[in-house]
Amino acid sequence: MNVPNERKLTIARAMAEAVAQEMRVDDGVFVMGEDIAALGGVYGNTRGLLDEFGSERIRDTPISETAFIGAAVGAAQDGMRPVVELMFVDFFGVCFDAIYNLMAKNTYFSGGNFKVPMVLMTSTGGGYSDAGQHSQCLYGTFAHLPGMKVVCPSNAYDAKGLMTAAMRDDSPVVYMYHKSLQGMGWLATEPGATVHTPEESYTVEIGKAKVAREGRDVTIVSVGMGVHHALNAAAQLEADGVSAEVIDLVSLVPLDRDTIRASVAKTGRLIVVDEDYMSYGVSGEVIASVTEHDISVLKAAPKRVAYPDVPIPYARVMEQFCLPNPEKIIAAYQEMNAA
């Protein structure tokens, strides 16, 4: 589709633009992280910020995630709005105390008297043979723990609006961006992520899912990269006369259960696509949202296309065997109707 005056941005540029626009109007916003200044972020999401705002507000840190994420908590409690980057979500292991014991709990433990308005950006996802310490999604790990909002854009429009919303939120927001959507020249990018993105500042509501494609016969729910697999599968299913609805969760916390339920009430069938590990995660939560509410809407048992419960392997053929893809989604639909 051609849009007049179309202004396509990658997610990386959309994120950086949102941060820059907010920094121009809010002196409390600043950025900390590893390689976010001169390099502009390993995944490009802070590119250009150092030139405009200087090293006082765009701070490269030592490789000390516990210290700088903890420091962000302290600065947020002191009235600032830090944006910090955990370069790969897999690195949460060295700093989770600052995240889930401080960032996520201080509002509650203070009875609401302390606010922790900060954004924790982190890259997710694999598919490029970086193996299991640099390829995980860990959506369920973060979404499971109360006290932090969690968002995962699937395209640049949402990426910009979610970032602006996250910086303005008085609660901590974990902003999980998928590497395969980011638009880095050296890493293949899903073309559907690079979309028209308005120049002016705007917000995308945190906690509100979107119907990425309307359909009648089956609901495919996903987030981030999985949305593109779902849209791809839906296009193929359409050729076979099947009308698939695709729900982009956009946010994992708060989870927009109403939009999921309304869609499944219409279609009667549910497939959840999740690049995070299968068990105890987002896919199970989405299914429970429907079955706990009204199991009678289902015409078939729900299906999951998720990462198997194994660490992420290096070898291309092994990793690709494990990852969700459109073919697995189509197969899930076919199994659902064969049963």
Binding site: T66, T107, G112, K115
Partner: protein, 328 residues
Amino acid sequence: MAPTRDEQHWMYRNMVTSRKFEETIAGIYFEGKTPVFSMADGPIPGEMHLSDGQEPVAVGVCAHLNADDVVTATHRPHHQAIAKGVELNKMAAEIFGKATGLSGGRGGHMHLFDADVNFACSGIIAQGMGPAVGAALSRHMQKKPGVGVAFVGEGAVNQGGWHEAMNLAATWNLPFVCVIEDNAWGISVPKEDSTAISNNADRAAAYGIPGIRVADNDPFAIYEAAGEAIRRARAGEGPSLIEVETYRLAGHFMGDAEGYRPEGEKDALFAKDPIPKMRATMLASGVATEAELDAIEAESTARVEAAITFARESADPAPEDALTAVFA
């Protein structure tokens, strides 16, 4: 630089208030927990870490602070909270888990938060470091006055996060002070069995900042060391590290049998109890009379009793309030 007469009176008052508070809590703690000790029962449930003996550190440091300065405290926070000026009625009520508590009962004794005086706790070892450094960063970036002070125990310096935060504060030359309360014990493990060096102030060399160790729990020496560290911080000269040799007169937690303590250690520590020692010092130097110190003790006792009464008489939170205040 010695504390003024008024400062000495303030220090003594806060030491006595803290001790009286702990003694009162200790007396109440076992209510409902006998004959069989059950941590979950009684008006004060849960773990209880008392600070008896460590009062000089809190007052010697906080004598230099005002409400705008930011303090992060430990799992053993009462003396630090009192010296920082946390509202005592609300603090007692929080420890009793009451609706009138600082956090409406959500936090309890290891998670005391008072925004009015910029005081926060974490029950996780060394994890107050990052937020105190962050508060210092915030003041530095906003060009606002105020310093960040993290109180930690001597066990905390062996946590990676402690090192990360010290390096960050020094690299960015922030108005930050780390105060190590060396009470010689990490629960049951003595310092010499857990720490490669005896003087943690030596670690300051690793960050290119001043480090000083204060011996023998001396409130006047602590006051002097903290005064210089906080002066440096306020002047933009960067962070400092202070380690204080202090005494843990109580167990790690209430109910701790302390079988790991060498025989005679506690008797020796009680013989060096800093409160009667400070009283004697103030009388000898003439900065206070018996009558003045008696009055301070009586006033402190009355203040603690009023706080405990407030806490006891306050209502429990509505159980369903557990579901609120997750987000701002």
